[in-house]
Amino acid sequence: MIMSDPTLLVLSSLAEGDKHGYAMMEDIERFAGVRLGPGTLYGAITRLEERGWIAPVASEDHRQPYTITGAGREHLRDQLTNLGRIVRTGRRRLENA
């Protein structure tokens, strides 16, 4: 799992609240500095929905909003914990070098 993994970015975006595809793209660009292409974004949405980590929210609009599920939050927490450990280790080693 790397920092620019689209599934992790989508989960992080939805952790703040429900969003449709375009809103996710803009949010991700803002907080991660990564501009996901439409294909990459929907590839990630497809995989996340298949695993039950996100779910569509009822909407009248063609733009389908998604929400993060409980399992999705748990998965995101695990991934961020792992990443936090890597970041802390890397920082410490850099400071001690």
Binding site: P38, G39, Y42, R47, H62, R63
Partner: protein
């Protein structure tokens, strides 16, 4: 650009389109698309197909494509035919009893200098108009060396009291290959006759007669073996298809 993106979006698997098509089109309508977005949409369309395809749907087309490709290559390569001529030697009882199996080899060695001489091979090249394409760019010496590479001579054990050596020549034209074999064996037999008349010590003792047998079975080329080419392509296609499926599955698991 939006039109192009929407066109690429139509290339996604139909099941995926049924589920996500409307919202995906809505996403493509928003914002200002860039050229890299078009590549992104196209790449993902291909990935979706490969991910959704079953093992058979990936491996089978790969195998068929591999077999067709190598089959086409085998037809594009100019075939090589090998003509065969067997020179049988009848040996006297004394040699037969001694079970000496070097007679054929020694006879071939005795006759080779004449048969493979520069003069003899140059005459055959000239007479049968061999290597027309190579003659444009190669010297006579190189042509003769090329011809020597295409000739193979080896002793063959045929039975008690009889020995033989096999003379082979490979060439793209089967009829010319046979003619070359005939010319060479004729030169060898003439040489043997002359050596015997001159009682040359080079010819092994005990050889009574030399008899020529030509093999007319040149219907199939020696190279390329189209069956082997096709089978090779089939196996490579299966392996390639399996590799694609494994890579896709591995990628999917890594993401999870």
């Amino acid at each position: 650009m939006k039109r192009l993106l929407k066109f690429f979006a139509r290339l996604y698997p139909s099941d995926w389109r049924k589920r996500y098509g409307v919202e995906y089109d809505a996403l493509l309508e928003q914002g200002t698309p860039r050229v890299r977005d078009a590549f992104d949409v196209l790449r993902t369309a291909v990935e979706m197909h490969v991910t959704n395809w079953s093992l058979v749907k990936v491996v089978l087309p790969c195998a068929i494509c591999g077999a067709l490709l190598t089959g086409a290559i085998s037809f594009a390569i100019s075939p090589q035919y090998v003509s065969r001529a067997l020179i049988r030697l009848t040996v006297n009882d004394e040699v037969a009893r001694s079970k000496d199996d070097t007679v054929a080899r020694d006879t071939a060695i005795a006759l080779l200098p004449d048969a493979l001489s520069e003069t003899s091979l140059a005459a055959i090249i000239q007479k049968l108009d061999l290597y027309p394409r190579e003659r444009v760019r190669m010297s006579q010496e190189d042509l003769i060396n090329q011809m020597r590479k295409d000739i193979s001579i080896r002793p063959v054990r045929t039975g008690p009291g009889e020995d033989a050596f096999l003379l082979q020549f490979s060439y793209p034209d089967p009829h010319i290959a046979q003619k070359v074999d005939r010319e060479m064996t004729s030169a060898m037999l003439t040489s043997a006759l002359r050596m015997r008349q001159n009682q040359s010590p080079s010819l092994p003792a005990g050889v009574e007669t030399l008899r020529l047998e030509t093999d007319a079975s040149l219907a199939k080329p020696l190279f390329p073996n189209r069956g082997v080419f096709g089978a090779g392509g089939l196996v490579a296609g299966v392996a390639g298809g399996l590799l694609v499926v494994c890579m896709r599955r591995r990628q999917t698991v890594t993401v999870s």
